[in-house]
């Protein structure tokens, strides 16, 4: 932790530093290079900006990401050279090194806590800070190694590769981009430019994302927090209110990050993939996972589930593959048993959904899916099992149904806000749908933008980090 007085500039998307200083500077420099025809300099510019963005959190992390990029680039060249006569184990070794790095930073303390009785006395718990975005850039590079081995992509030049990994719009929390989607865009610096149409679309996506984060998600976080933090034996209303508030918070928060990342990409001339598609409108859990954190689900499907399901040694291939895939998803999210349980719970949901043969009426299917997700989110949010169990019991009414007036309890005002935002999540068009139905009047469109962006800007205050930064 930095000492008191280290007032570093931490470049969060939802900060003035980023919106009114860092971003205009980068876009201005990019436009100047474009106007001067110095396209080749755009890659170093964006790479430098990305490293400044990342290093603003803690410059020591630059060493880590630099080492990770260098190792994976070298290993990818090796895999590319071996394509004619691939050596068994080369890919596995590369993946193992990546996972070992991730495990060291993310799971050492967790393993220490759980294995403490078996360890020699006197060992102190290691204090290892989790580097920002390590889960995301590790996953993206593992996928790259696999794609190089499978001839899905070629190894680009080192600066392009380094930019592919560190590209600041999606470095910290995705979307997790496949090499064949992003590298061709970055490798053609003439594309890395913006025009009025891209600026309008990009700023629109950023405004929507910013509004979702600072107005909606942060407000919902304030509603969920007290119940998750210190409401022991919450009532039915409080438990459900907090569970719903967090379920909505994480959606608005994470999808906001994706909206902003996509918007930033547009400003730079890069198209990033969509990461959310109104997930709470899903009719079943499989559909939910096709709409939620899409790039992560796709990664799991392509690089974990399919290889496992096809593996000849697995008898009940699909069932095993589902459970293993979601267990991995849980572990990837965090070093805690609650995340393991959350992953397994989703694996079980998927198994049940896969084997369920009787179609359900649509409203019931929607409701069941949403409730299942919300129950899972309690595990995702709670600091430990006992808190999760306490809140889930509250949701069953085990701690009473009566309305309470405790500190942080959900009063009518909070419940109205939660249910209004639930209605928005379920019924309102998402950002992508809005973009397909643009306002024709420039004046109205500009006014709507100014209101959304302006309200978001004055709500920023002290910026709160995105929930997924902790992963």
């Amino acid at each position: 932790m930095p000492a008191f007085g280290e007032a570093g500039l931490r470049v969060l998307f939802n900060s003035f530093e980023f919106l009114f200083f860092f971003l205009p500077l980068v876009l201005g420099a990019l436009a100047l290079l474009d106007r001067g025809g110095r396209h080749a300099a755009k890659i170093p510019l964006l790479l430098g900006a990305s490293l400044v963005f990342y290093g603003s959190w803690d410059p020591r992390y630059l060493l880590l990401i630099g080492a990770s990029i260098s190792f994976n680039y070298g290993w990818a060249l090796l895999l590319q050279r071996q394509r004619a006569s691939p050596r068994r184990g080369a890919l596995a070794a590369g993946v193992a090194v990546n996972l070992a790095g991730l495990a060291f930073f993310k799971y050492t303390a967790f393993l220490f806590d759980n294995l403490q009785p078996l360890l020699p006395a006197g060992l102190t718990r290691p204090a290892i800070a989790l580097p920002l975005g390590i889960s995301f850039f590790t996953l993206q590079q593992i996928a790259f190694l696999v794609d190089v081995r499978d001839r899905q992509t070629d190894v680009p030049s080192f600066p392009v590769y380094a930019l592919f990994v560190s590209f600041f719009p999606q470095l910290v929390a995705g979307p997790i981009v496949r090499a064949r989607e992003l590298i061709p865009q970055l490798a053609d610096p003439r594309r890395l430019r913006s025009d009025s149409a891209r600026l309008v679309n990009g700023l629109g996506a950023i405004a929507v994302g910013l509004f979702k984060k600072v107005v909606l998600a942060d407000m919902l976080g304030g509603i969920a927090e007290p119940v998750f933090a210190f409401h022991f034996h919450p009532s039915f209303v409080d438990a459900w209110g907090a569970a719903l508030a967090f379920t909505l918070q994480i959606y608005f928060d994470f999808s906001a990050y994706a909206d902003i990342a996509i918007g930033l990409g547009r400003l730079i001339g890069v198209d990033l993939p969509e990461n959310f598609e109104s997930p709470y409108r899903a009719r079943n859990i499989a559909e939910f996972w096709r709409r939620w954190h899409i790039t992560f689900s796709t990664f799991l499907r392509d690089y974990v589930f399919i290889p496992l399901a096809r593996h000849p040694r697995n008898r009940d291939r699909v069932g095993f593959a589902l459970l293993a895939t979601f267990l991995l998803a849980g572990i990837w999210h965090g070093a805690a048993w609650t995340f393991v349980a959350w992953g397994l719970l989703n694996g079980v949901y998927m198994l049940v959904a896969q084997r369920w043969r009787r179609p359900l009426p649509s409203p019931l299917a929607h409701a069941l899916t949403f409730i299942a997700v919300a129950v899972g989110m309690v595990l995702f949010r709670a600091v430990d099992f006992s808190r999760a169990v306490d809140i889930v019991l509250g949701m069953t009414g085990a701690h009473g149904f009566a309305w309470r007036s405790d500190v942080g309890s959900l009063d009518a005002n909070k419940l109205i806000r939660v249910f209004s935002l639930l209605a928005i999540a379920l019924l309102a068009p998402n950002r992508r749908q809005l973009e397909h139905r643009p306002l024709r009047s420039d004046r109205w469109a500009a006014l709507v933008f100014a209101l959304i962006f302006g309200i978001a800007v004055i709500e920023i205050g002290t910026p709160q980090p995105f929930v997924y930064f902790q992963f």
């Binding site: 420039d442 500009a446 004055i458 205050g461 002290t462």
Partner: protein, 375 residues
């Protein structure tokens, strides 16, 4: 769609909207800190207090943690600035003092110093972005989003405007700065007749946890003591008088100290503090500790108590404030290196009396007899 035109309009409309917000905030209450004695909440206070320290030119500066922030609420006027920072650390207090010393009008500092400030691991509510130095130096990248272009400040501006409007209509401006004796007497009477102390069990539990946490394994730190001594030294080197106050403690906090078995450690800290610099002591066992009606919550007294203590510290007296106020005004006893042992003995005596009384009350309760306070 004409993209170029739309982009231009987007920029213009956004700029107009943000300029309007900034103009409203600037014209009513530029930084949200000159309101009518209306303290902002914890988070907002931590954001706004440093700006007030950087910009205001008070003669008297109050620094400390929430015990100062909430319990000596004088607003930001009449030559006194309350720069209490909820969850403050000594490092933060030092930074506030250093900035305030740049104010040539500053004559004295009242420093609220409670025992938990001196714990080695005390990290207070030091915010995620360590923004205090940036705020103290009016860094526009934090100042603008936290003040001029800020929805919460806009809301404060609205309230300040409404307050001023209604005050103007009634021709009775709200009282800020040091309260008048009449106001103090009336406020104490109101609190004693109609207690507003929170009875919420959850909040009480939270405060119990907080109090226990503050004293679990309590011990002071040489480093913290050195920081404290250096703050006083720097202030005095600028010719500024430093009045240290050990704030009032409530029964719950005293219970936490007893249950954690750290009374002697706190006494030892008391001795060390006296050797560093004289102080005024309102802490420990006193009649006030057992008067919950004068507490906002188990850890903080109502501002009226702080007002009386402040008058006492500043030598203003409180004639006409009433009997209870007179007893409060007598609380902060002067402690220095010469009389510290005698004061420690007095504290022990008061503790013994209080514990005997508590034991007596418990025995009476067991026997079903009325307690002394029932009458």
């Amino acid at each position: 769609m004409n993209a170029a035109r739309r982009l231009k309009l987007m920029s213009i409309y956004t700029a107009v909207l943000l300029a309007a917000v900034a103009a409203v905030n600037w014209s009513i209450d530029p930084l949200g800190i000159w309101g009518n004695g209306d303290r902002p909440d914890e988070t907002l206070a931590r954001e706004l207090v440093p700006y007030a320290v950087a910009l205001d030119r008070p003669e008297t500066l109050l620094v400390g943690n929430s015990r100062i922030a909430w319990s000596m609420n004088v607003g930001a006027s009449a030559g006194v600035l309350n720069a209490g920072l909820p969850g403050a650390t000594l490092d933060e207090i030092g930074a506030l003092v250093d900035r305030a010393l740049e104010n040539p009008a500053l004559r004295r500092i009242v420093l609220g110093a409670d025992a938990p400030l001196f714990r080695p691991g005390h990290s207070g509510l030091n915010d995620r972005y360590r923004a205090l130095p940036r705020r103290l130096h009016l860094d526009p990248l934090v100042l603008v989003p936290e003040t001029l272009l800020n929805e919460r400040i806009l809301d404060r501006s609205r309230r300040v405007f409404t307050q001023r409007w209604s005050a103007a209509a009634k021709d009775s401006p709200g009282e800020t700065g040091l309260w008048s004796p009449d106001h103090i007497r009336a406020e104490i009477g109101e609190l004693l007749d109609h207690p507003r102390t929170t009875s919420n069990p959850l909040r009480r539990q939270a405060h119990e946890r907080m109090a226990r946490g503050a004293y679990t394994g309590f011990g002071d730190s040489d480093e913290r003591l050195a920081t404290y001594a250096a703050i006083i030294e720097r202030a005095e080197a600028h010719g500024v008088e430093v009045i240290v106050l050990l704030p009032v403690q409530g029964a719950l906090e005293l219970d936490a100290m007893e249950e954690e078995g750290v009374w002697s450690e706190v006494q030892a800290l008391y001795r060390k503090l006296a050797l560093i610099h004289p102080f005024r002591d309102a802490s420990g066992y006193s009649f006030l500790a057992f008067e919950p009606r004068l507490f906002i919550d188990p850890l903080h007294v109502w501002p009226v108590v702080g007002q009386v203590l402040l008058r006492s510290l500043l030598g203003r007296g409180c004639a006409g404030c009433g009997d209870v106020a007179a007893r409060i005004a007598e609380l902060p006893v002067a402690v220095d290196a010469d009389n510290v042992e005698a004061r420690l003995a007095e504290r022990e005596q008061r503790r013994a009396l209080a514990r005997a009384a508590a034991g007596d009350a418990r025995r009476r309760a067991r026997l079903g007899a009325p307690s002394a306070s029932d009458g």
